[in-house]
Amino acid sequence: MALLEIKDLQTWFETEAGVVRAVDGVSLAVAEGETVALVGESGSGKSVLSLSVMGLVPPPGRVVSGSVSYAGRDLAGMSERDRRGLRGREMAMIFQDPMTSLNPVIRVGEQIAEPLRFHLGLSRRDARKRAVELLEEVGLPDPAERAKAHPHALSGGMRQRVMIAMAIACGPKLLIADEPTTALDVTVQAQILDLLRDLQKRSGMAMLFVTHDLGVVAEIADRVAVLYAGKVVEDASAGDLFDAPRMPYTRGLLASVPSLAGPVSRLTGIDGSVPSGIDRPSGCAFHPRCSFALDLCRNVEPRTERAAPGHFVRCHRHEELTPESSEVHSGID
């Protein structure tokens, strides 16, 4: 049994402009100790999916259908009280901008101590002591001093470490990290990725790591789910996804990333742009941008199919688009 199991989840936002189908039928599983990267471009639904798992979707958003279960327990059926008990203790989340979840007027040590008292029933004194230890674990220099600081007195990298300390305080089994390094400089990002990997090795927690950066995915993920227009369009081990991508969107994404190694060639890219959440194209939502699209793609939505062991893809043409066949005849010309 997977630790986290998401089935056919739909999370929609009813706005004046129309219904935004942010998450539109996602199925995804995370096993114990596994790191699954959720990758996609802006608007693909990564953050709403993460918030849906945590039960933190802001109004007017709501989970319309589908289920999320944690260790075999259906979260939708749980009382808000039980869910709160789970959040922070069993599953925790970190965000791109730590300032959104840190309280600016409370010292960071107190903020880390809070869940320790709430979930683990530690005394004020023990919780404080433990908070300093946690700050040390996440590599904050001078942890006893830093525990007394307010968030704004810390740098971006340090705040992210504080967030991580808060998230791992109760030893969660699942950490959901939503673009935790996107706002950081690359040298600080490297530190945080190393820290997360290291914590994971020590504690065995599973991680759902949300990012738009394929480089970060390659560094951290065991398995990768590619999100497009609210749906998982490809799901494979990191090795398979990078070496033998099947879905034209994944291929396009990989061909869009300039290489550090050179030689410098023209980027293939993908024409057009990500569709809005309200007016999604018919059939395969990627078809207007896909150079392999056929009439079938315009009319019929592809189902998730198994392309290889442990490799799932939503594309009518996945059987032709094998790693060997880079030159499949495209539907356009």
Binding site: P141, V186, T187, Q191, A218, G239, S256, V257, A261, G262
Partner: protein, 313 residues
């Protein structure tokens, strides 16, 4: 003669309170030849954007001089600066913020034509050419910015900067707010325009792979100073400065299983309000020696065209 050249460029900003100042740019020399793309890389607060704005005379330097085609333009202003303004344009990071929401595309593109006295009779055809050139097509001219995607808006920003046929462009993080699939389109567009128009460019970015992709030559900046300079081929294959090395090894690459021996720097970039003595990088450098705290290393040439500022390397 370089198309544009900066010598000893320095910029101090007033810091909040207590009459203190921040040195954002400290003794930068750089030159861009006609038709050349120079990449300027560094992390936040390194002063990259400030250098770009100084070159375009959008900011007054505290010290140093700027030469355009050999002519000192540092002290020019108003009317005397106008012909140079026309030669030097800017493309901004955020296509949303840099376009006036209430203006139609045609108005946005007309503005620079009017400011620079292009005869009104030529506007129509010029705007049409520009929109074709950036791949939007002339039909979009009466639409408003909000009707476009981020990538399309960046194309409008690029069209605007090209309206008066500049020879030099400062592109400040022009693709960093775009999705990677759209980023690729805009990078291709910039490459095409460069080939077609012979544009010279200062390309400011924090993404090393993007810079590798567009730049002929690269300058690496740390806390207001250039620490290394070389052709892109040399810099990416054989970095000399420990900061360049660390930057390169920290950049995640989309290939599985290349566990590189990474140099992970300790700590954060110091605040520009408290730049370390000697070599500004020494507090995070794994090679630092006593001397590094005492004396500031100047740029020196290690091989033709390859410059570094480091006592140890």
């Amino acid at each position: 003669m370089a198309l544009i050249e900066a010598r000893g460029l320095r910029k101090d900003f007033d810091a909040p309170g207590r009459g203190r100042t921040v040195t954002a740019v400290d003794g930068v020399n750089l030159r861009v030849e006609a038709g050349e793309v120079v990449g300027l890389v560094g992390e936040s607060g390194s002063g990259k954007s400030t250098v770009g704005r100084l070159l375009l005379r959008l900011l007054e330097p505290t010290a140093g001089e700027i030469l355009f085609r050999g002519q000192d333009i540092t002290a020019l202003d108003g009317e005397s600066l106008r012909p140079f303004r026309r030669e030097m344009q800017m493309v901004f990071q955020d296509p949303y913020a840099s376009l006036n929401r209430r203006m139609r595309v045609s108005d946005i593109l007309e503005e620079p034509l009017r400011v620079h006295g292009v005869p009104k009779g030529d506007w129509e055809s010029r705007i049409e050419d520009l929109l074709v050139m950036v791949g939007l097509g002339p039909d979009v001219r009466s639409r408003f910015p909000h009707e476009f995607s981020g990538g399309q808006r960046q194309r409008i920003g690029i069209a605007r900067s090209l309206a008066v046929e500049p020879s030099f462009i400062v592109a400040d993080e022009p693709v960093s707010s775009l999705d990677v699939s759209v980023q690729a389109q805009v990078l291709n567009l910039l490459a095409d325009l460069r080939a077609r128009l012979g544009l010279a460019m200062l390309f400011v970015a924090h993404d090393l792979a993007v810079v590798r992709h567009v730049a002929d030559r690269v300058l690496v900046m740390y806390l207001g100073r250039i620490v290394e300079e070389a052709t892109a081929d040399v810099l990416f294959a054989d970095p000399v400065h420990p900061y360049t090395e660390a930057l390169l090894s920290a950049a995640p690459v989309p290939v599985v299983g290349v566990r590189r021996d990474r140099i992970v720097l300790q700590g954060d970039i110091p605040s520009p309000m408290a730049i370390p003595s000697g070599c500004a990088f020494r507090t995070r450098c794994h090679l630092a020696e006593a001397r590094c705290a005492e004396e500031r290393p100047e740029l020196e040439e290690t091989s033709p065209g390859h410059w570094k500022a480091c006592w140890v390397r």
